[in-house]
Symmetry: C2
Subunit: 465 residues, 2 copies
């Protein structure tokens, strides 16, 4: 047995012995409804995370640790730094905020109950992102207990605004560059695919989130007036329709694709080995086909390398049961654009506004809700190699490496600005229902995820950069 | 003083003496939240109307009256019939149901409080249609008190489903043709225009109310999936966009205009004398222009003679505060089509479905919520002449006669099927906010409206048919 193998065995035993406690930590955190968009229980959640980190700072070999709640212009960042045997530094980026739980009537268990049924924990935020945060805290705890000290320096950056576009994280990153200095970063999320294979992803898409507001008469009217009074719902529908080609799905905003980097040969090779369980997804989602009817390599390329223009929400007029004959006074659409390297959200926003102006819709108000730059790590980065090799050890199979997640996060601000390679790996699975009703993770994935993080800490500590 | 003048004077005195009681009746009825779309307090409202009519049946000269609540497959019809001196029969068509009160946060007073502020009564349904119903009940009461008997036979048909498209009224009308037999009908609604001039209208538009439902994945998803999973909100927007020309507003459903009767010379003459206070409306509604920039005769023609395709409501995905990055699983639109003679709602529904099919949207579910035929009365009908002449007497000015209202109702089923001419006149005003927050009528309009109905009953009783 190698030295790494022996130490891993010790850590695994600690993890198995403490599993009930770690699960309890997770349930505790999930029961705090920290919905950033609605400013619910945010302080309470930050405080709870601080308490977990404080406990680690009191653990074996943790002298010289730092734990603090650092204010921003928005919700604070919980920061923790723990010294280790090697000066090598590993950064964990996580967030303590969650998405709103609605539509709440579609949940089978209370969204903030963190109930366990048949080995599955159900809670808003359990997959995105509290399960991963607690798994990483638990891994640090287990290593302290098993080895009496950490193998390397660890930093936790746990923000409270990820689900609302990390509005004040750029400010935090620019004000505290020293806190972000690291040799590699484990990004917040990660999932197993439909075949049970671990996914490892090397980047995130960028984001522009806007709300379009179209106004008509100063109040709702009897719809008899529709013959002569402008209807903002129609106007919004017509404006939205100019944004996207109905047949191809291509975004029609001028310049939108100008800065898109096409996939390289290396990207195509990664895509080729990346698994995507098409039939399982279609079955689970009850859809007949994917967008544009794509399959295989094309499907994967579209998922990973295509920017999107998505309607997150539409609202206007009467939406209750039955009928109301009303001419609405306002119509709103929430849109998210997922951006790929090197699209710039500021530039896309300007292009969107120019598009509306050119099509005669300059009366439509555009509210900017969030912006994030895309980011991508090279597959040969040390932290990536460490994660891929440890995944084989912990999970017993070669992980499914994706050039980028289709999701978004502030990876550019936290990592790429400082040249830190980042990789995503975590405790979710393909049916974790993130951002949707019945969000969940499997208890065994959580426990395995703790082991995985502990293994990466041990391995990355000694690997050549 | 003429005989009519003397009798009118007697009735007016009774009305003035009883005004507080009549206002109280109205408040009492408005405090019952009889929202048909939500099945709230419907029985209670029908019962209350029955009690008012029962009281009339006990009044002077009312022996032989009939009052009953007649069941339908939906909400019941309250029916009252009261004999009078002349066999001439006048039918009042009204309804005891109201529109939903949302958005409730925009009301300045409780929607079911019926509070009076500065001579204005605020309540959902006070203008549409409880004010008119109570004014007509009060007119019958006052005539009984003043003259010891009614001048003519009166019938009340008070339904409970007008605001949800009078779903079961056709069934009622076909089952009880004898109850609808009359020489003229005073239709449910009526308003003063922005200049304070009484509007009299001679018809209603028809209606097709549908809901379009577009489904995507079986559940809401994280919007990262938007690159490959179809978004039903986009699909709905694209389908809606095929229904209407964005520039001209013309409905693009094939055959939609085929059966539209263009205005006759007589219609154009009526339009020419019909007043529409463009500047007052634009000011009140805070709009810069009417649809297609029309003004003058074109505006009036468009209001009265154009069919519409209106979006009453849009709903999909996240509609709360801030952001949620979601790929919705369903998107819905509620649409009403206002139809003009001789458009047939059944035919329009078939054309709509065929349109969706031809454009590749046959996956979109079409729920049929209501259908009504358009109807129009000739301006030389006796009941019209009676109303116009009595309006001059009661209001002191020539009323504003419109060939048709832009609104809708089951006039075809209640009147035109049986050859009964119908005319609309009532107690609302141009800012009554029907179907909108802060619905209201002015107390003085209500009292004047009682006098108007009493005058028409006296006059119509003796006028040559």
């Amino acid at each position: 047995m190698t030295d790494l193998g022996k130490r891993l065995g010790d850590v695994y035993r600690i993890i198995d012995n403490n599993r009930d406690m770690y699960i309890q930590w997770l349930q505790e955190l999930c029961r705090i409804p920290s919905v950033a968009a609605q400013n619910r229980s945010m302080k309470e959640a930050a405080e709870q995370v601080r308490r977990y980190l404080e406990a680690l700072a009191q653990g074996p070999g943790a002298a010289g640790s730092t734990v603090k709640v650092i204010p921003t212009s928005g919700f604070p960042v919980v920061y923790g730094e723990f010294p280790g045997k090697s000066p090598r530094t590993l950064l964990f980026y996580n967030h303590y905020d969650v998405q709103p739980e609605d539509p709440v009537e579609l949940w089978h268990y209370p969204p903030f109950g963190a109930e366990i049924h048949d080995g599955v924990i159900y809670a808003r935020g359990v997959a995105d992102n509290k399960g991963n945060l607690v798994a990483r805290i638990a891994a640090v705890h287990a290593l302290q207990q098993a080895l009496g000290e950490l193998p390397l320096r660890v930093k936790f950056v746990v923000e409270g605004e990820e689900e609302i576009g990390s509005l004040h994280l750029p400010e935090f990153c620019q004000n505290h560059p020293e806190l972000l200095k690291a040799d590699g970063c484990i990004w917040e999320f990660g999932y197993k695919d439909a075949d049970g294979r671990l996914q490892v992803s090397l980047g995130v898409k960028g984001m522009l989130y806007v709300e379009l507001i179209c106004r008509g008469a100063s109040q709702d009217l009897h719809s008899a007036n529709a013959a002569i009074v402008p209807n903002p719902a129609w106007r919004l529908v017509q404006a939205l329709n100019t944004l996207k080609d109905a047949t191809t799905g291509r975004v029609l905003i001028e310049g939108f694709y100008d800065d898109v980097e096409p996939p390289t040969e290396e990207d195509e090779a990664l895509l080729a080995q990346m698994a995507y369980s098409e039939e399982a997804m279609k079955e689970r989602l009850k859809i007949r086909a994917f967008v544009n009817g794509v399959t295989g390599q094309d499907l994967k390329r579209q998922l990973v390398f295509s920017p999107t223009c998505n309607i997150c929400g539409l609202t206007s007029g009467y939406q209750g049961e039955g009928t109301k004959t009303v001419l609405p006074s306002v119509a709103r659409a929430k849109l998210d654009f997922r951006l790929v390297p090197r699209q710039d959200p500021h530039k896309i926003l300007a292009q969107l506004k120019e598009h509306l102006r050119k099509h005669g819709y300059d009366d439509i108000e555009v509210i900017e809700w969030g912006m994030e730059h895309p980011a991508r790590t090279r597959p040969d980065a040390t932290i990536v190699r460490s994660v891929v090799e440890m995944a084989e050890k912990v999970y017993g199979h070669v992980p499914n490496v994706q050039p980028s997640s289709a999701g978004t996060g502030p990876m550019y601000e936290v990592c790429h600005r400082f040249g830190t390679p980042a990789v995503s790996v975590g405790v979710g699975h393909f049916a974790s229902n993130t951002h949707a009703p019945n969000e969940n993770i499997r208890v065994e994935d959580f426990v395995q995820g703790i082991k995985m993080i502990a293994a990466v800490m041990l391995d990355f500590a000694e690997r050549d950069l």
